[in-house]
Symmetry: C2
Subunit: 708 residues, 2 copies
């Protein structure tokens, strides 16, 4: 991610950093041990976490406080759908959904701000967020990005106003992530100058489409474009599907997807087409067009590149899910840490007071590393958003930029969406039975976020795209290198192996001895050493896989596929390692940007938990590959434990800095009710003891009798 430049806040530039994170970690780490406890400047940290579009995010947070936008737990399917539909009207009229659209149709042409505001909807109701994403981020965006001015002026106003709720009809029952293989056809009929849409078999039904189950009156339908006997691949068509009474139009049929694991405010459904005719003009023709006589033309000659260009315009879905998942993780931690700082259980070291949950080592280990990851993701997401905005605003919109953005999206979205499920679940368990009640939000958020890991690109499929890109870059770098050089490279850990380009972090330090297992624990604290360890792992894994895949070029297609398949696990592991490195880099830059010394120190500790946590997670790799000695490896865990203990007093500040109001969290257990209950209980016992009427304890009596 080297070419994502440090950026400035839209409300003003970030103050220069007083000290580097390295100095912070190395120099001040032992202050706590000396009795000096740094303090977090929560207000400034909150501002930093709000990110580049802080003003838009704050405005969106005010907006999502509205009770009429909030999810009501336990509603029926019909009630949920109707509530979210009504909320969509509110969004359409008051929610600035026009942000990313062209000024010509009343838009603001603000892509980064649009995604920022969208992400915050998750606090109101993830169903609302995703239904809005379907309407404006997918359906509307397809018309905007794949269509031309005719489509913009004809269709966008009604889409923006939600007068025409629409489905994004890409996925088929038989083909999810493999979009290119979809089976729906749109065949051009020269005589009538229409496209004729057909669904050839059950597996080609469009499926899981938001708005298709009930409310949608139109759809952006992806289909194989066939004209003059040639299939030009997947294109998108604007297709009306229901009349004003919400009955299907002729030739169109479908099914409701019914009840789901979450997001039940959205009417997902299936669609199929039988000789459905739409005018030639309904082809969204930015990247491929058909003339009246059926001649196909495209500005992009290669069908493969054309396909990926069209799909690439839809990357914003992944951008926004990365952000929304990170917001949801932050909410989960805000609830669990707040409760953990009020709830007491078991009297371990005292006769009268029970221990606070957050004081238990295990509780800290469950929540604080996840807090560190959530911080890393918050900062990485902001860098990602800046890159996205830069491409979509046209500021830096080359083919290379688009590819880099795709790779970033494919790397970060899986990490943050899986992290959200993991964090919300751990938060729910950390709150015990109370965490299982809908009134405390955690189970609902988790259920709704579940599908984020497989929609807009299945996480495992996306990570393979990342790995392929890493392999391609690796191959480009060594094009022409003979097998001997490559083999040496794969095992030799040569120092000079800089990658370039976004999405791939380069190792700046050359000539260091990676093989040394004699690093001191002190060295492990250094961000430079952490970077080296993390970067080395990505590069070594990729070089190793590349070496193993080398024979594929001389193999049959089938044998090559089998060889590639034998490396699938490793490829995904390498892609994850790469994504973790990207997050680590963003976190590192963010700590460097902090001015307040106390905040900087606490964040440096949190950064250490994240960075060394990654090393700990992959400790076996570092040991097997001789990057860490057993002694140093053992020190990693011990050191993380020390950092966690130091962070414990700051846990509340760190979740408060996310800046959620009670209207966002809406969790009974994070409302202060538990603290009140604890106070009431302690006051009761204290009064009882003072009154002299408290019953004696049989245990105490027995102990007394034994002594006598």
């Amino acid at each position: 991610m080297v070419d994502i430049a440090p950026h400035t806040n839209t409300l003003g530039s970030v103050p220069p950093a007083s000290t580097s994170i390295e100095a912070e970690v190395d120099g001040h780490l032992d202050e706590a041990a000396q009795g000096i406890t740094p303090s977090v400047d929560v207000a400034s940290l909150r501002w930093q976490l709000l990110g580049t579009w802080a003003d838009v995010r704050l405005k969106a947070r005010e907006f999502t406080k509205r009770p009429d936008l909030h999810r009501i737990e336990g509603q029926t399917l019909a009630e949920q759908r109707e509530r979210v539909r009504a909320q969509m009207q509110i969004l359409a009229s008051e929610g600035e959904v026009n942000r990313p659209f062209p000024r010509a149709v009343g838009g603001l042409e603000d892509n980064g701000g649009n995604i920022t505001a969208f992400e915050e909807l998750v606090a109101a109701d993830p169903s609302l967020q995703i239904k809005a994403g379907v309407q404006w981020g997918l359906f509307g965006s397809a018309v905007l990005q794949l269509g031309t001015s005719y489509h913009h002026t004809t269709f966008l106003p009604d889409i923006l106003s939600f007068t025409v709720p629409g489905a994004f009809a890409m996925t088929e029952t038989g083909h999810g992530s493999d979009v290119a293989s979809m089976a729906t056809t749109a065949t051009y009929d020269e005589r009538t100058q229409e496209f004729v849409l057909n669904t050839p078999f059950r597996g080609a039904w469009k499926d899981y489409l938001g708005n298709a189950g009930q409310h949608g009156t139109a759809a952006a339908v992806f289909a194989q474009l066939i004209t003059r006997g040639v299939n030009h691949g997947v294109h998108c068509f604007y297709v009306p599907i229901r009349d004003e009474n919400l009955n299907f139009l002729a030739g169109i049929g479908g099914e409701d997807d019914g009840y789901k694991g979450g997001l039940n405010g959205i009417d997902n459904g299936r669609l199929h087409f039988t000789d459905v005719r739409v005018p030639r003009m309904n082809l969204l023709n930015k990247y491929g067009d058909v003339a009246e006589d059926g001649t196909y033309t495209s500005s992009i000659d290669s069908p493969g590149r054309r396909f990926f260009t069209m799909l690439g315009t839809l990357v914003q879905g992944r951008v926004s899910l990365d952000g929304a998942a990170t917001v949801a993780s932050a909410m989960g931690l805000a609830i669990a840490v707040t409760y953990g700082n009020q709830r007491r259980q078991f009297a371990a070291g005292s006769d009268t007071d029970e221990e606070m949950l957050m004081d238990y080592q295990r509780h800290q280990r469950r929540l604080i590393p996840r807090l560190a990851t959530t911080y890393a993701q918050t900062f990485a997401h902001d860098d990602f958003l800046v890159k996205f905005d830069s491409v979509f605003s046209g500021k830096t919109d080359t083919d290379e930029d688009r590819q880099d953005l795709e790779t970033l999206a494919a790397a970060l979205k899986p990490m943050s969406t899986w992290h959200a499920l993991d964090t919300l679940q751990e938060a729910r368990e950390a709150c015990g039975g109370a965490g299982f009640l809908a009134e405390n939000r955690l189970v609902g958020l988790r259920a709704d976020l579940d599908v984020y890991v497989t929609f807009e690109g299945d996480n495992n499929v996306l990570l393979q795209l990342v790995a392929k890109r890493l392999l391609t870059d690796y191959g480009l770098k060594f094009e022409g290198a003979d097998a001997g050089v490559l083999a040496r490279y794969a095992v030799g850990q040569a120092a000079d192996k800089a990658y370039h380009g976004t999405g791939r972090r380069s190792l700046a330090q050359t000539g260091r001895d990676f093989g040394s297992t004699a690093r001191s624990v002190h060295e492990l604290r250094s961000p430079a050493v952490q970077r080296e360890l993390l970067t080395d792992r990505v590069e070594t894994m990729i070089a190793d896989i590349a070496g193993k895949l080398r024979p594929a070029s001389k193999m049959s297609k089938k044998a090559a596929a089998a060889l590639f398949n034998s490396q699938q696990n490793e490829l995904i592991a390498a892609a994850r390692a790469h994504a973790e490195l990207l997050q680590w880099e963003s976190f590192t830059r963010a700590v460097d940007a902090v001015a307040d010394p106390g905040t900087k120190q606490v964040l440096a500790w949190l950064h250490g938990v994240f960075g060394l946590g990654l090393v700990e997670k992959h400790l076996a790799w570092y040991l097997i590959n001789g990057r860490l000695s057993p002694q140093r490896a053992q020190a990693v865990t011990a050191y993380i434990d020390r950092l966690i203990a130091r962070l414990r007093p700051h846990a509340q500040d760190l979740v408060d800095a996310f800046g959620f109001a009670p209207e966002h969290l809406r969790a009974a257990i994070a409302s202060g009710a538990e603290a009140e209950r604890q106070d009431e209980a302690r006051a009761y016992y204290s009064t009882l003891r003072a009154s002299g009427t408290a019953p004696l304890d049989e245990k105490t009596l027995k102990r007394g009798a034994q002594k006598r």
Copy 2:
């Protein structure tokens, strides 16, 4: 688990094993490489998996096929509760819920069979299972286990017939797992010979109680028994709470817990008591009684031991959750593997056929190790059930047996309930968007099973009980040993460190060189070596922790608590290692018991995936502690990959052997519908190609043009 003897099936004894697992793994591992593919005898394997009470389990499976017992997805809260209430009536009249109860009240006194049948209810609806568990397993069981003949004859008949739905009122809002600290009081009033129940503050409200929200008319209420000014600790009282119109009786109040993350067929709720009077006889007085004049007597002198004895009678909840969670994991895998064997996606190695999901390496890695763990848990659960039955039937019911059973429960229930959530989630993701639809069961099962990890004892709390038991045993063994000996022990890895007693596996092989890193890969395949590695890890961890905790005895209570807290993570890790070892031992014995050679070989591979999977999971530990060399460590993963590839052709057989019928799985994607869709699609394309009317592909045309 050494003293859980191999047991016989209630329908007949297990045939003697033809060869040991060791011979199987070592001798036959390369058969597949030689082109010989063993086959699984699904019928006999199914029989083995049904366990000791196979006949009861089969009968229960027939029973749960009834549509009127099945969960209907998407019902409202009220509909779900009413449906489950009606199902409870069916269970009461036809479900043999009398199994564990005394013959005097019409029972069968069959504890093992009772839990077996109960576990299978999870396939009908987890809400029904848990509501049944509340009524007969907790409420009824409290009356049975804590009460005496008066209570049995007076209360059990109406409990069995569900005429009196009851709550098990133990947990309070302020105290979950810390039962001893509950605040509800039951004070004896000599004048009226009644107990007076009171809830002193909000935190003392009983909470999360099934049947308390709506249907319960009585409750088994746990409260601090106070008589003659002395608190004798927690006892249980039979307390009517609602009249026939379901209105609260005088002095009783409560709240509905409302919508939850799952199990919404159960009416969980809160209760509180204000001067509620019950007759003296309503004290369930098996372990502690109050005479008319208020004199307290108990057969157990120590209040601590009395408390744990009373609680110990309720261990069957944990036994049954271990089994139910394992059944749910098996269901999830049956659905996902079946779908993975029908679904195709992406054409990697062929121009016409797409790849089957189960043929992807990543897909195999996601599902097959979880299948191995589910097998291990199935066998471990059966051993556990045999132990439970032996104790509860009175066959081997000593204090030591009860403690062993508690330790087993505390070790196994956390592993299997967490595994169920992990497996159901992975299964859902492996089925993509289809996995998120309620019609495919996975999301509903996961949502319902979620609370299994924190109820009936929070998993993290239970694992600490296990660790404390391991430490106690360790301490007993070395009682009187001086600090020097102990310290040497903690670091020295002496060979002779046999533990004895249930729940703690002993290392049989003495004098082996644990420190040797020169083991061959071949050696790692051997169950004896795996046992050594797994046992060594538990023992070393415990010895290490014991060494660190040694100074605690000379510390203040507060300092000792802090020292103990600093080892909490490690304690839990050691307890998990112990639980994994128990599961591994059961799996090992089960493979040894297989007669059919093909089945035995496939199970030996699956066992290898489980055993070496545990080593892989903790690889850093083995490397840091010098138990494996980096070369051997690397070989572990490579070898697991080979085993998984060999198991792939048997994956369907291995899930079919769980023996679920379509009426149990009820998942559209596991019904064969996907295979039909795939066949239809392929037939369509095949016909199209044959017809000569298929459109040409632009890509193919372009490639042709380039060649010319």
